[in-house]
């Protein structure tokens, strides 16, 4: 029966927002609700989104902490007037943490969310002049981010943005033309052997390359996704 099938789909997903810690109700530890879909471009093309895909609750907690600690400023380049106010939220302990995502908030209709998600998808696929959004993953981080490569004009700018996004990350040193200084082999070996992280990217052919080898614009055109690997793992590149 249709209702039963839909009921079965609901099982195994929790989306309760639970104020009372002592309740014995089913709910997530810490009482923070699970996020809704909308910024996941992997959300299925089926318009029947039930808003229950998304990050796990642990991710939400980490995101919360990170955003408080780092001056995460990915969109600094987009902000022309430079005066960005952080919303001053009075944190009431009984209310959910301000930056945790909750089901149905902000109140954007599923119809609209699906269209915006599809638009982002298609702009990536067709590679139009709009944006070059690529996923960025970092080994050990539980969630991925997205950057628009068109927002940056050099490896350094990208490096800065990624560094802020994943604060324990470093790109190492670049030579005068923004490429890795091959002349200094020892520097490179230090970099790769260190526990520092190294960015790699997947190009149009599906190969994983070390970031920094090619001119910036060529990199933007060929980069499909970014992966920040542990230096020791990058030896094979």
């Amino acid at each position: 029966m249709e209702v039963g099938r839909k009921m079965a789909n609901m099982l195994g997903t929790d989306h309760d927002l639970n104020f009372k810690e002592t309740e014995l109700c089913l709910g997530l530890p810490g009482g923070i609700a699970v996020v809704a879909a909308g910024n996941e471009t992997e959300s299925s093309s089926s318009p029947k989104t039930n808003g229950k895909r998304g990050f796990s609750e642990t991710v939400d907690l980490k995101l919360n902490l990170q955003s408080k600690e780092s001056t995460m400023d990915l969109n600094k380049n987009l902000d022309d007037n430079g005066s960005k106010e952080k919303s001053g939220s009075a944190k009431d302990p009984a209310k959910p943490p301000a930056k945790a995502q909750v089901v149905g908030w902000p109140p954007v209709r599923s119809y609209r969310k699906n269209i915006m998600a599809n638009q982002k998808n298609s702009s990536e696929e067709s590679g139009n002049s709009g944006a070059a959004l690529v996923k960025v993953s970092m080994d050990g981080a539980p969630y991925l981010r997205k950057v628009d490569l068109k927002m940056y004009k050099s490896y350094q700018e990208l490096s800065d943005a990624l560094a802020k996004m994943f604060s324990s990350f470093t790109m190492g040193n670049y030579g005068p033309q923004g490429m890795i200084d091959f002349m200094n082999e020892s520097k490179l070996m230090d970099l790769l052997n260190s526990s520092d992280y190294v960015p790699s990217y997947e190009d149009k052919d599906g190969d994983w390359m070390l970031v920094g080898d090619v001119p910036w614009q060529m990199f933007v055109d060929s980069c499909k996704r970014l992966r920040i690997m542990k230096g020791s793992e990058a030896i094979g590149l």
Binding site: M7, K20, N50, S89, D92, K95, W105, P107, Y111, G130
Partner: protein, 587 residues
């Protein structure tokens, strides 16, 4: 004197007089004057509006109004748009269609919102109503292009087919081709929600070319640019049009073809669509801009400079829907160019991003409130706000009827003072005496509800999220807002006391939905027992509410008045009064 007049007017005369009375409210008043007026009125009522499909049963409607031609039904509550009502909750239209198929052979208009419509329902409509003219399915789901094919094939006099924002399954049938070649009646067609596989261009072009009365055409995203120009040339009489996919690069031949096609459309007043638009193509529409009264750019990822250029060509604009890419600078341009603006909706381009990706603040809205004296309806998503701005807006726009503000982060305070927005929203309700719809956001205490209860006497719909301190907040609203019809609340510390104290109020409203608040099961049961004409539904997917400890609060609560009694199509996760509860506990 009036008494003699009432006796001397014959039924036919009264019926003729009543035919000039269109509004439901007035009709209801007329029917309450005396028994004979009630009888005359019920036989000549042609249009019915049922705001909650479970408030009354189809049999009851048919019994009282035997000759209805047009019906409008609404199903799920508004919060269902934001995934706050689980799938399968209800809102099925089939029982209504089944009853009306027998009782209203001359029914020619069906308008549905947030209902579950199956192919079977559509096939039944196609089969049962010989003169069917208008089908509007707004935010509906459950049907496929098979059902549409049945409508297309059978409804010879169909004038309006509007599927706005519905979810349609693609059954791969070319349903548009099912309109026979003899069919020429289309006036309004909205298929903007359909996916790419579901529309055949040649069938579309043939349909458009043989329907001379076509006034409103809203196509889906998949129609490419050159086809758009063709279609416009076939229908230069269009008043409303939704444009289709814009291609990636600018081609001058395509551009001039498109520009030429638009320039033929002298009647065009409303444009929407603009998915995937590339700014270089926008000048193609400049020839119609001066006459445009409505512009929906809310799916267009174009940025402020291009938006400013476009808006400066549209001095007659009354309605603008746009993304926050317009930024404060764009809204300032809007305020200086579009003095007739009545409605503004600014949607978030990236609602889940922590940082704003567009420079849109409260300043934009303040500018519009200052520059557009006719502003009546506002929907505004932003990331910061101040009480000062809200007070200014309230003072600039005392004629506001709808004010919906969404400050994206819950519990955000006034960025200048760090205070809650009680004073700001208080100013809105105090100055805007005709306010009928209000949505709150940001940090709010019980104070704001005191203001709302005191001043918002015409308020009909209120949406509240992450606000208030105690039951007092809810009590202020329920006891003060005389015109309140719909109240939807989520994540607020409102509980039993306010609800039970104001139980009688709930019968004067259409519905109350509370999600993740502090209402106990006991209170729900008590309310259910005290108020037989209220349906009290506990929506809880976690399992039987009875099996939880006494102090546990219910997940969601939906209360609505009904003369139809309990409904029989409830899914397993909806719990109502005792008898039903006992049945559900067994698997």
């Amino acid at each position: 004197m009036p008494k003699r007049l009432a006796y001397s007017l014959s039924d036919e005369v009264l019926e003729h007089v009543f035919s000039f009375i269109q509004s439901d409210k007035d009709r209801n008043v007329v029917s309450a004057v005396c028994k004979s007026w009630y009888e005359i009125e019920r036989w000549c009522r042609r249009k019915i509006f049922v705001g909650n499909c479970y408030a009354v049963s189809p049999k009851m409607v048919i019994r009282r109004f035997p000759q209805v031609r047009s019906i409008e039904l609404k199903g799920k509550p508004h919060f269902a748009d934001f995934n706050l009502v689980p799938d399968g909750w209800g809102g099925y239209v089939l029982p209504w269609i089944t009853e009306m198929a027998g009782a209203y052979p001359w029914l020619d208009e069906i308008r549905l919102k947030r209902m579950v419509v199956t192919d079977e329902s559509l096939e039944l409509i196609a089969k049962s109503f010989k003169d069917f003219k208008v089908l509007v399915l707004a935010s509906c789901e459950g049907f496929s292009t098979d059902g549409l094919a049945a409508i297309a094939a059978s409804c010879k006099n169909l004038r309006e087919l509007d599927l706005r924002e519905s979810e349609v399954d693609d059954s791969s049938v070319h349903w548009l081709s099912h309109f026979p070649e003899t069919y020429t009646s289309m006036v309004s067609l909205n298929i903007s929600c359909l996916g790419s596989g579901e529309v055949s261009f040649s069938a579309l072009e043939r349909l458009v070319s043989r329907c001379p009365n076509l006034r409103s055409l809203k196509l889906n995203r998949a129609v490419p640019l050159d086809k758009t120009a063709n279609i416009l040339r076939l229908a230069p009489q269009l008043v409303e049009f939704s444009t289709c996919t814009y291609s990636a690069e600018l081609r001058s031949d395509v551009f001039s073809n498109l520009a030429g096609a638009f320039s033929n459309c002298k009647e065009l007043r409303s444009l929407s669509g603009f998915w995937d638009v590339v700014p270089d193509y926008l000048p193609a529409i400049y020839s119609v801009c001066s006459r445009l009264t409505s512009l929906n750019l809310s799916y267009a990822t174009i940025h402020s400079p291009d938006l400013i250029k476009l808006v400066s060509h549209c001095p007659s604009l009354q309605r603008l829907l746009v993304l926050d890419y317009i930024e404060d600078s764009g809204l300032e341009a809007l305020a200086s160019n579009c003095k007739d603006l009545q409605e503004l909706r600014v949607f978030p381009s990236d609602p889940f991003d922590v940082e704003p990706n567009a420079s849109l603040t409260e300043q934009g809205l303040v500018a519009v409130s200052l520059g557009c004296p006719k502003l009546q309806s506002v929907l505004y998503f932003c990331r910061r706000m101040s009480n000062a701005a809200l007070v200014t807006i309230a003072q600039n726009c005392p004629n506001l009827t709808r004010f919906r503000l969404c400050i994206i982060e819950p519990n955000t305070a006034d960025y200048l003072t760090g205070e809650p927005f009680d004073v700001g929203f208080g100013a809105i309700v105090e100055h805007c005496k005709d306010l009928i719809r209000l949505s709150l956001s940001g940090l709010l205490t019980d104070c704001v509800f005191e203001y709302i209860g005191k001043y918002a006497k015409k308020l009909e719909m209120l949406s509240v999220a992450f606000a208030g301190d105690s039951d007092l907040g809810l009590h202020h609203v329920l006891s003060g807002c005389e015109s309140l019809r719909k109240l939807e609340i989520r994540d607020c510390p409102f509980g039993d006391k306010a609800l039970l104290t104001n139980a009688a109020k709930l019968e004067t409203m259409r519905s109350l939905l509370m999600s993740s608040c502090s209402v106990s099961l006991e209170a729900c049961k008590l309310l259910s027992q005290k108020m037989p004409r209220l349906n009290v539904e506990v929506i809880d997917e976690r399992g039987p509410p009875d099996s939880r400890p006494k102090n546990c609060t219910v997940d969601k609560l939906y209360i609505y008045r009904s003369v139809a009694g309990p409904r029989f199509d409830m899914p397993p996760f909806v719990w109502t009064k005792d008898e039903d509860l006992a049945l559900r506990l067994s698997p």
